[in-house]
């Protein structure tokens, strides 16, 4: 047996209890929110309702949490001392952790959709249970996009807390960028009909699938997939594919000695803080109170980044540029 298979088996075994816990929590969420109701009209059973969005919500949360669970061990230098000398290449480790998280994500998805099918089975005459199959497949694919994206982002951080903060900001980054781009002349002219900024939200592909198949489960004709939806899914597919590639490139090259220190990756705070700050200032225009809030947020970001009140020259320069940008927009 190769080192890859041996490590994969060991890792899968040790993470099984975690999978069981997530499955139980998912089932509790299903119980609380799936909400199957059969309505009686004139003494007869007439129609049923449920909340298919619960399934995509669980998958969205699982796809967000899984990268943290899979990679948090690599954000502890003491742990890396015991991991990195092991006779397995770092690329193989990257593959094992990526695939293990992926399998667990798929397992949770299948488990939840299976539970939904069992739930709806006694009321088969009111629900289109067959539509759960494509719903499941597409929802899993969409959650894979989120998972791959966050695997890359989390890997860029040097601590778990930084990783979580970066994931949070990145979830909204594309939306912030689109807000700015949408201010430019002629932007909407080139966008598909019905395109809104919501499409730039990381979880939008899951939302599109939930919306379409939610209707299908209730036996209704789903809203047609329009150009805006296609653009959203294509955009996030490309970003996720690049993220997966980035993950496999950066994981083996990640320097152990930097772990626990300042998250100085190009894809980390260094670029995130000024990028988000400048975008928000540009979008805000001349409204000073909001600029003050953005400035405070940028300053807070830099303090978190540096873990100190003493900022670097480059940080102060970015804050100065933000002021210049505000003046430029206001004038």
């Amino acid at each position: 047996m190769t080192s890859l298979r041996r490590y994969a088996l060991y890792h899968a075994k040790t993470t099984l209890p975690r999978l069981a816990v997530i499955a139980v929590v998912s089932l509790l969420c299903m119980y609380a929110f799936f909400d199957v109701h059969i309505y009686q009209l004139e003494g007869r059973y007439n129609y049923g309702t449920c909340q298919p969005g619960t399934l995509t919500m669980i998958l969205g949360v699982a796809a967000t949490v899984m990268p943290i669970l899979e990679l948090a061990g690599f954000k502890n230098r003491r742990n890396l001392d015991t991991l990195c000398f092991l006779p397995i290449s770092r690329m193989k480790m990257a593959v094992v952790h990526y695939l293990n998280g992926l399998f667990q994500l798929v397992a949770i998805g299948l488990f939840c959709f299976g539970a939904a099918a069992i739930w709806l089975l006694p009321h088969v005459m009111y629900f289109n249970i067959v539509s759960l199959l494509p719903f499941c497949a597409l929802a899993l694919l969409c959650s894979l996009l989120i998972y791959s994206f966050f695997m890359f982002i989390f890997m860029q951080a040097e601590t778990t807390v930084d990783g979580i903060l970066m994931m949070l900001v990145y979830a909204f980054l594309m939306m912030i960028l689109m807000m700015v781009v949408s201010l430019m002349d002629g932007f909407w002219q080139y966008m598909p009909d019905g395109f809104t900024l919501e499409g730039a939200f990381l979880y939008s592909p899951l939302g599109i699938v939930s919306r379409s198949y939610g209707a299908a489960i209730h036996g209704e004709t789903p809203a047609a997939i329009d150009g805006s939806d296609v653009l959203t899914v294509v955009m996030w597919s490309v970003i996720s594919l690049l993220s997966a590639l980035g993950y496999f490139i950066t994981f083996p090259r990640h320097r152990v000695e930097k772990v626990g220190g300042i998250s100085d990756s190009f894809f980390g705070y260094r670029v995130l803080i000024p990028l988000c700050g400048f975008c928000l200032i540009y979008w805000n225009g001349e409204f000073f109170p909001l600029y003050a809030v953005i400035l405070i947020l940028m300053l807070t970001g830099y303090i978190i980044y540096r873990r100190s009140l003493r900022l670097c020259r480059s940080d102060l320069l970015m804050l100065a540029i933000s002021l210049a940008l505000y003046v430029f927009r206001a004038v």
């Binding site: 041996r6 088996l9 060991y10 040790t14 003491r78 001392d81 000398f85 006779p87 397995i88 000695e257």
Partner: protein, 292 residues
């Protein structure tokens, strides 16, 4: 054989190792010593592949530790190994067993029973010394060709130290293993290390055979009936001296007979030659280079 050549490494902006070169022959037990922050742990992490060197190279029989085939022959025990809230000796063993399929269960069982460790109890409930015993049991059970130990005896009681030393010697004799141990307890190293490397000021200050190192120095205890002569050490290769009233203890780097003859000329009431241990030799070496 391990060859480290022109190794340079930085941790952030801090250059920790600069142009470090050393050779460790097969079957050797090497003591890696140095003051705090000398770069011992960094060197061990570079040698086992945890850190990737910025400059220079490390070769195990001509193979880089970056290759997993090379690392199959290496085991590194850090000074403070990580364990989770639920880690047990058994779960730790399972991890290493997954990647070292030839792990010797007999050795492991023997050591676990010698140390009277409960395999099913969480490591967090163990004392520091007991955790060390558990890690050492796993490290020795792997039977690596190259065993790198960082602060190997830290936290171990005298009986456990004796057991570990015995097991290390056994590993070297039975498997021809090469052992590198970093420690601040130089007297511990002197007992069973063949050779030493002193790291200081980012590079190798001194390296060689421990026996030769200690025999190079000589130590004399002197007592005078009257005041200690002011020119007592004039022209002598003095390395370090401690004076307490009319009593003097001095370490010299030179021929003992010649030094003894010159000290006798001052007619001390007592003149006694004493053996120099590795710790004194280390202190003499480091202080002799003008460092504390």
């Amino acid at each position: 054989m391990i060859n480290v050549s022109s190794l340079t490494h930085r941790l952030g902006d801090n250059e920790v190792l600069k142009d470090v070169s050393l050779t460790v022959p097969d079957g050797c037990v090497l003591g890696l010593v140095g003051v705090n922050g000398a770069g011992k742990s960094t060197l061990l992490r570079l040698m086992c592949g945890v850190y990737l060197p910025e400059k220079g190279e490390i070769l195990y029989d001509g193979r880089s530790p970056a290759r997993e085939e090379t690392r199959q022959e290496i085991f590194f025990l850090p000074d403070d190994p990580y364990y989770t809230h639920i880690s047990t000796v058994r779960s730790m063993l399972n991890m290493y067993r997954a990647l070292y399929p030839d792990l010797d269960m007999d050795t492991y069982q023997r050591l676990v029973s010698t140390f009277a460790l409960d395999e099913k109890k969480p490591l967090r409930t163990f004392s520091k010394g007991m955790r060390r015993q558990a890690y050492v049991a796993v490290a020795l059970a792997v039977r690596p060709k190259y065993l790198l130990l960082d602060e190997a005896f830290d936290g171990l009681d005298p009986l456990s130290r004796k057991v570990v030393k015995g097991e290390l010697i056994r590993l070297v004799e039975e498997c021809g293993a090469t052992v590198i141990i970093s420690s601040h307890s130089l007297r511990e190293l002197e007992d069973f290390c063949d050779s030493y490397v002193i790291l200081h000021g980012k590079s190798v200050l001194s390296a060689g055979d421990i026996g030769e190192k200690t025999s190079r120095y000589c130590k004399f205890m002197l007592a005078f009936a009257t005041a200690v002569p002011g020119d007592l050490f004039a022209g002598l290769p003095l390395v370090s001296v401690e004076q307490n009233g009319k009593f003097v203890c001095a370490v010299f780097d030179g021929e003992a007979e010649e030094i003894e003859a010159r000290l006798s000329a001052h007619a001390p009431a007592v003149l006694e030659r004493q053996p120099v241990d590795f710790e004194e030799a280390f202190i003499s070496e480091v202080e002799g280079r003008g460092v504390q």
